[in-house]
């Protein structure tokens, strides 16, 4: 019964990682350079979940199996005066769609809440069982 709490914690961790990724996407929605300063537009990142506890192999739960980058084409905008513009005057921007990120963030925070309420129920059930002894 106690591992239901660990399981809930693994869900919280996974959903928080997802929210962190979404936050990074939104923060970098207009980033056209990479960390070393070269022109290399940011690509959208997303997490992939897989069943199984992240720290205890064989236990039920959920873990972040991978953080992948979105290979979809980068949108181009016509900005001839921009220092990162190509020969035709187009600038490549990150393939981050804010509406997609918002919907995903909403889903992640709802899933987080669902896990919190499951953990509350687990706690109440464990407490009720423990009161049998005392």
């Amino acid at each position: 019964m106690f591992d239901a709490l660990d399981m809930g914690a693994s869900g919280l961790l996974a959903q928080r990682t997802r929210l962190d990724t979404i936050a990074a996407n939104i923060a970098n929605a207009n980033t056209t350079h990479d960390a070393s300063g070269r022109v290399n537009p940011y690509r959208r990142r997303f997490v992939v979940f897989a069943p199984g506890h992240p720290n205890k192999p064989g236990s039920p739960g959920v873990r972040v199996a991978d953080v992948r980058t979105d290979a979809s084409p980068l949108p181009k905008r016509f900005e001839p005066g921009h220092p990162d513009a190509d020969a035709q005057g187009y600038v490549s921007y990150p393939n981050v769609d804010l509406s997609i990120e918002y919907v995903n963030a909403l889903e992640a925070s709802r899933a987080y809440e669902a896990n919190v309420s499951m953990m509350e129920v687990s706690k109440a059930m464990i407490n009720a069982s423990l009161r049998l002894i005392a």
């Binding site: 019964m1 809930g8 896990n115």
Partner: protein
């Protein structure tokens, strides 16, 4: 031997099985909630109907066996009745239904509370009998 019979007579073992079942089912529901966004994950469940039918048949078997019967014939029920949940399959291969999960979770927690309360009452009665007074 006396204590063993005291604890395993009547419906105490049935309540114990109910607790084991609801705890096992709670774990599965929590696992389903945790994996609500996992691709290719199929929701799992324990069938309450099958559990009750099995419990009933074992109670009858115990009753028919009479006084010398095994007092704990119920162990391991929950392992036998795991069934995959049906439901709308999404494009990521997950048949999630958060509403159904929350309803199942509430029903299951109520069943657990009921079993705990009934057991507690039995233990209280036993305690009063041991003290030989009604308080």
């Amino acid at each position: 031997m006396f204590v063993d019979r005291l604890l395993n007579q009547g419906n105490a073992p049935l309540l114990e099985q109910m607790l084991r079942f609801t705890a096992a089912r709670h774990r599965l529901i929590a696992e389903n909630v945790v994996n609500v966004d996992t691709p290719e994950y199929r929701q799992k469940d324990l069938s309450v109907e099958k559990f009750q039918a099995m419990l009933r048949s074992r109670v009858e078997r115990r009753r028919d066996a009479g006084d010398g019967a095994d007092v704990r014939p119920f162990d391991g029920l929950e392992a036998e009745i795991e069934t995959p949940k049906s439901g709308l399959l999404f494009h990521d291969g997950n048949n999630r239904s958060m509403e159904q999960l929350m309803a199942d979770q509430a029903k299951n927690a109520m069943m657990h509370n009921l079993a705990v309360e009934l057991l507690r009452k039995q233990f209280q009665a036993m305690e009063l009998a041991l003290k030989e007074r009604v308080s």
